[in-house]
Amino acid sequence: MSAVTTASQHHRKAAIGAGASGALMLAPAVFVLLVWSVVPLVLTLWYSFQNYNLVDPTLHGFAGVNNYWYLLSDPDFLQSLLNTAILVIGVLVISVGGGTLLAVLYDQEFVGRGVARVLVISPFFVMPTVSALLWKNLMLHPIYGVYSWMMRAVGLTPIDWLQRFPMLTVMMIVAWEWLPFAVLILLTAVQSLDAEQKEAALLDGAGPVARFFHIVLPHLSRAIAVVIMIETIYLLTIFAEIMVTTAGGPGVASTNLAYLIYSRALLQFDVGGASAGGVIAIVIANIAAAFLVRAVARHLEV
């Protein structure tokens, strides 16, 4: 009995020793991580409560909640929140809906399937600035864009998409970039569906529609949840596409939260206001992430 006790005490001492030296070994990594993430966060918080404008150095000092107050009462801010939501939801609907359909289609046997798959995936590998430029200049340019040329070829007047429907156009461009991602994930999920399950449904008398809704879609639900979560995190911070195509305009018609913060900080030089926007963005992202993680976790449990 006593031998056992001493042995376990020994063990515990050894474990503590290992813990202490382990912590020492971990310290540099933890330190870097802290500096990396906590310092910017704290600084952002700090600036968000300061009067800090690069064009007006005379105005400085503690601002209280003024920065937040100005921001929250600014109609531009509400517009940007709305635009952010429209962009996220619109792109999610298009990419997940289209991605599911395409994944099911690309799962069928047809001639040239390999090439078609590579083509449908490829937009994902084009960087955002480039694809935005491609769409702005090559496709939609009112004078020499491919789309305008096609419209004129059949005798119609081309629409200046980025002027008339800036939000919709940005949404289409972003959806074009993210559809391949959804197809890629959902296609692998579709392919992992057990062939015998489909055949069992066939014998049960399920037609294509019933098979899609009762067999394929439930099988895809996890993958869809994952796609939604990952895409949302990226879509909340869409920036390059807006910067390149509309610069947030006309007016603030296509300004989302990320672009608003940028324009506050680097176009209006209001570091304090931009920081307040940043803090709000962090809060929103965390709320969204909390909801999504919970939803996904529920799916993964089954």
């Binding site: 055949e199 066939l202 014998l203 008398g205 399920a206 019933a210 067999i215 439930p218 099988h219």
Partner: protein, 369 residues
């Protein structure tokens, strides 16, 4: 309930013919088992009957009606898959309900049918469980239940027990046989387990490389295999084969000289034309008798003894080097390196010509009975 008829059914996959003309007729209420080595086309044949594979040529008739071009669901059959293929997101009740729902069966009737089936299969306590929460045997039962509720004319099973452990397999085998007797539905069952084939079948179909080698009741195949392949395939441990030459023959008997020089008399008809020809003598391990005898004697040295409890398998090296397996009762006291003598009962031996085709046996006690 329903008859199934296959008329020179063929299946070709990109230039390779997998099923090479199968003719078969299955009576109503019959339990037919397809057996054969891996890759011989059992599953393919079954899937063609189910409608999951196109039939390249030939006719498939169910109840006398040609169904080649009917969709699987319209053929009135149900299939149990090797992997069970349950719908993982539906609970047991919903799994069984799916087909009925699609067939627009009224809610009350659905419930009644499912509860009846659940009672039969002892699934009543698991109706709310998802397949992932069930054991292998329970999943198997759900798969069978899903097939039964739709009250099909024909049941198809593709190796349904091969994922279960040995004891559960034995239990499910008995349950399936009982169920078949009660429902009386025409059943086609694929397996490569010959115990399943022998115990459950009314009729066994032995397939090899897409060809039907023999069709018959389990005892017919055991007593009168038509050729070497069937003789090898049916029976465990498998039949012993010894090369030899016919040296004399009458209407009903043939005298064969083995490589060792021993002469064996075999009950086999029509061997007169084969005098001097090479033949193969076949004898099942359970038919070789240990001990001295006047006729059809052999001797050799024991290399290995396998005790199975109720029986023992002796692996005996004969003088000419051929290996013979003898099955005796488990209590026998024989050890490795012992010398043993044994005899082949003439009426229990099989004779195959050089093409591997069996010679007819005119008098066999069991056949006459």
């Amino acid at each position: 309930m329903a008859t199934v008829e296959l008329k020179s059914i063929r299946k070709t996959y990109t230039s390779e013919e997998i099923i090479k003309g199968v003719d078969l007729s299955i009576e109503s209420k019959e339990f037919v088992v397809f057996v054969g080595p891996s890759g011989c086309g059992k599953s393919t044949l079954l899937r063609m009957i189910a409608g999951l594979e196109d039939i390249s040529s030939g006719d498939l008739l169910i109840d006398g009606r040609r169904v080649n071009d009917l969709a699987p669901a319209e053929r009135g059959l149900a299939m149990v898959f090797q992997s069970y293929a349950l719908y993982p997101h539906m609970n047991v009740y919903q799994n069984m309900e799916f087909g009925l729902k699609l067939a627009k069966t009224p809610e009350a009737e659905r419930r009644e049918k499912i509860m009846a089936v659940a009672r039969t299969l002892q699934l009543e306590n698991y109706l709310k469980h998802k397949p992932g929460q069930l054991s292998g045997g329970q999943r198997q039962r759900v798969a069978i239940g899903r097939a039964i509720v739709r009250n099909p004319k024909v049941f198809l099973f593709d190796e349904p027990l091969s994922n279960l452990d040995a004891s559960l397999r034995g239990q499910m085998r008995v349950e399936l046989a009982t169920l078949h007797r009660r429902l009386g539905a025409t059943t086609i069952y694929v397996t490569h387990d010959q115990i399943e084939a022998m115990t459950m079948a009314d009729k066994i179909v032995v397939l090899q490389k897409g060809i039907v080698e023999q069709v018959g009741s389990p005892l017919e195949l055991y007593d009168c295999p038509r050729n070497l392949f069937v003789a090898k395939f049916i029976g465990s441990p498998p039949m012993n084969f010894l090369p030899g030459t016919v040296i004399a023959a009458s209407e009903e008997q043939a005298r064969v000289r083995l490589a060792s020089g021993q002469e064996i008399v075999v009950v086999a008809g029509g061997a007169q034309g084969l005098i001097g020809a090479a033949v193969t003598l076949g004898v099942r391990p359970e038919h070789v008798r240990l001990g001295h005898a006047v006729e059809n004697r052999g001797s050799g040295q024991v290399e290995l003894v396998e005790y199975l409890g109720s029986a023992a398998h002796l692996h005996v090296r004969m003088q000419d080097g051929a290996l013979l397996v003898i099955q005796t009762e488990g209590g026998v006291r024989v050890h490795a390196d012992d010398a043993v003598t044994f005899s082949f009962p003439a009426e229990r031996c099989h004779l195959f010509n050089s093409e591997g085709v069996a010679l007819h046996r005119r008098s066999s006690g069991r056949m006459a009975a």
